[in-house]
């Protein structure tokens, strides 16, 4: 029997099947019907309270629903002011949130993108040696503390012959911050010093020859140092931060490029011993700048039509002015700087216009001599005047000045002692904007710029992006140049203005950078 036949069987069996009905079902139906028939037309006295309530509610509804109350005269201005305040507050919150998000992302990125330990080739040089045949442990000239013990060396990862060598003849170098550098016999450990090191930490390096004499010399060992272990027979410690290497491999280390290794070796002292590529986090600098700025008009759709815009455009031309300010720069690490400050920006616009119906009164004085007879000459002066009606050409220099707070991040792609090249981006929060000059009103008459024309006192937030080029001059002083583009989110005029004035800005900031913390090695 297939499925279809099975279904058909049950259908036939159940379709016309009868089931017994209990006797009380009919009784219930009869009873319910009788009750329903009797109650359908039953009347019950209704309390007057019900009608009172309905009536009262109706009266209250009618009279209160459409009732008007007096509104204070200044209510509209309060609403406008409050809306403006909230808009500004919303912007501020979003800007601050954005900055925190960027900073947080930067910090997370910085945290998780540390350079892994990488070998570098180095050069060795001979050094003044001292004989230290007896010492098993040579401590640095600064302070000796408990460092990593020799037993922490991972023996199983070292070749067997070297393990025994370590066990038998390991010398330990202990640094105040806990660096342990066990060295076996017949090993040469050299360091190469780089020029321009501001502060040093002292670590001995030494050579032990085959006769059992250990030649040791003290080197100034700094976070900028590069050091290497000679090939084939040098054993270096491994305690989870140095990659072990075998006897037939050579390896070199650069403290300058290995932040991780440097941090392990110098610990918290790292901020006092800055390196080229990884600057200390205390680095603060003051930047002062000034430079040319040029406004770029972005009219868009104009409420007053294109004719108005054409005439307006023909009457105006952009003029170069300036922006100037100062800011504080904080180094965040990995070439990233956060900057905040205060700046004054002035945009200029030349406005040439004709004034119609200009009236000029011209006075003409005519002098003539009337000869009435021989020797009788009379000098006659006639004065007349007339009014000329025409037009006059005027020129006005319109100025838009604004005080802003620039909040920017600079990321240096090239970041060394001699030169820095990077990109800068951020927001510029406008605090106050004010105007000076003359423009057309809706009827093409010239009027002074003011709030009545819909010019705003605050133009909100702008985004900026630019390049950052810097050149250190001394340990603390440097110069920089920053070509930038500023994109203003809002125009100068409100929607109620007869026309839309919206400007962006290009410019160049030229300035000096004064390092406030002299402990850092460079800019």
């Amino acid at each position: 029997m297939d499925n279809q036949q099975f279904d058909q069987f049950f259908k036939d069996a159940l379709h016309n099947a009868d089931a017994p009905v209990p006797a009380h079902v009919w009784a219930n139906i009869v009873t319910d019907k009788a009750v329903a028939d009797n109650l359908t037309d039953i009347k019950q006295p209704v309390s007057d309270k019900v009608w009172d309530a309905i009536e009262f509610d109706e009266v209250a509804h009618q009279k209160l629903r459409s009732w008007h109350a007096h509104v204070p005269a200044d209510m509209w201005s309060r609403i406008v002011k409050e809306r403006k305040r909230r808009r500004v507050a919303a912007w501020q919150v979003s800007i601050i949130g954005g900055i925190f998000a960027i900073l947080f992302t930067g910090l997370v990125w910085h945290k998780f993108t540390k350079t892994p330990i990488s070998p570098l080739m180095l050069s060795s040089h001979s050094a003044e040696t001292i004989t230290n045949s007896n010492a098993k442990t040579i401590q640095s000239g600064t302070a000796a503390i408990n460092g990593k013990s020799g037993s922490s060396i991972s023996k199983e990862k070292l070749p067997e012959t070297q393990v025994s060598a370590v066990d038998n003849t390991t010398n330990r170098l202990e640094k105040a911050v806990g660096v342990v550098i066990p060295i076996t016999t017949n090993r040469v450990f050299n360091t190469t010093k780089r020029a321009g090191i501001a502060r040093v930490n002292r670590l001995p390096s030494y050579t032990q020859n085959n006769t059992g004499n250990t030649n040791s010399t003290e080197h100034f060992f700094t976070p900028n140092d590069e050091f290497s272990i000679t090939p084939e027979n040098t054993v270096f410690s491994k305690d989870n931060w140095l990659t072990p290497f075998t006897a037939n491999k050579s390896a070199s280390f650069s403290l300058a490029s290995d932040a991780h290794l440097r941090g392990k070796m110098f610990g918290s002292n790292i901020t006092d011993c800055p390196s080229v590529n990884s600057r200390p986090h205390k680095e603060w600098a003051l930047e002062m700048y000034a430079g040319p700025a040029l406004g770029i008009a972005a009219h868009g759709t104009q409420p007053s039509g294109n004719d108005f815009v054409r005439r307006f455009d023909s009457a105006t031309s952009a003029a170069v002015t300036y922006s100037a300010g100062f800011r504080v720069s904080k180094y965040l690490g990995s070439g990233l700087y956060a900057k905040a400050g205060l700046q004054l920006t002035q945009l200029a616009q030349k406005f040439a216009y004709q004034s119609e119906n200009e009236r000029k009164t011209v006075t003409i004085i005519t002098v003539r001599n009337v000869v009435r007879g021989p020797g009788d000459t009379v000098r006659v002066t006639d004065t007349s005047s007339f009014v000329q009606v025409g037009y006059a050409n005027y020129k006005s220099r319109n100025l838009v000045r604004s005080i802003d707070i620039p909040l920017t991040l600079t990321y240096n792609v090239v970041n060394n002692d001699r030169f820095q090249l990077g990109v800068t981006t951020g927001v510029i929060v406008n605090l106050q904007t004010w105007y000076q000059g003359t423009v057309f009103d809706k009827n093409m008459s010239t009027v002074h710029i003011g709030e009545e024309l819909g010019y705003k006192n605050n133009i909100g937030v702008a985004f900026m992006a630019g390049l950052h080029l810097a050149k250190p001059i001394t340990d603390r002083l440097g110069v920089f140049a920053e070509p930038y583009f500023r994109y203003n989110m809002q125009g100068l005029t409100s929607p109620s203005s007869p026309y839309k004035q919206h400007y962006h800005q290009v410019g160049m900031q030229l300035g000096i950078k004064w390092k406030m913390n002299n402990k850092s090695s460079n800019f």
Binding site: F56, D57, A60, H61, L64, S66, H68, V71, P72, W76
Partner: protein, 179 residues
């Protein structure tokens, strides 16, 4: 300007249209605010907040239903937020005890002005006043009021019954005084 143009203007954030809308409806909505507020200053705050919200969310009005009703709902919601901040205690249904309600002539009700009724309503305890306003004046159901105020529908019913009874008592008292 038609209502549709006014709405579109406000949706474009046109300041002129917004002002026009305010002038057209502010007094009416002030009447709403006064009924919920404890004093005029609070009513003004509610009205201000109401209009700010209307201008902010007017783009959400899709033209379905009455525009005035939509705005009124916003204003009422603003008023309810203020009320909720005041943490009004709503008496539960089982706490209500009813006594005999005095009889009031229909003519007496007609003679009352809106100001008189408002004065009587404003004299109610805040919880009664809120429920009375929402149900009798705004036309919400008990279930809707319960949802708006976060109370039980039965509580809303009891509040209304008690509010009405208090009002009728006051009216009866007035009736006696005026002879």
């Amino acid at each position: 300007m038609t209502e549709q143009e006014l709405i579109h203007g406000c949706q474009r954030q046109d300041a002129y249209c917004q002002h026009l809308l305010f002038r057209q409806y502010s007094e009416k909505f002030m009447g709403v605010c006064v009924r919920y507020a404890i004093d005029n200053a609070e009513a003004e705050d509610i009205l201000q907040e109401g209009f700010i919200r209307i201008f902010r969310y007017i783009h959400q009005f899709k033209g379905e239903g009455s525009f005035e009703g939509w705005m009124r709902r916003i204003v009422v919601n603003c008023a309810l937020k203020v009320i909720q901040k005041r943490k009004i205690h709503f008496v539960e249904a089982n706490e209500v005890t009813l006594s005999a309600t005095p009889q009031i002539h229909a003519t007496a009700l007609d003679q009352l002005s809106a100001q008189d009724i408002l004065r009587l309503v404003n004299a109610l305890p805040p919880g009664y006043k809120t429920v009375f306003n929402l149900i009798v004046v705004e036309g919400f159901s008990h279930e809707e009021v319960a949802e708006l105020l976060g109370i039980q529908a039965s509580t809303s019913r009891s509040q209304l019954v008690k509010a009405r009874k208090m009002l009728q008592n006051q009216l009866a008292h007035l009736q006696k005084m005026t002879g």
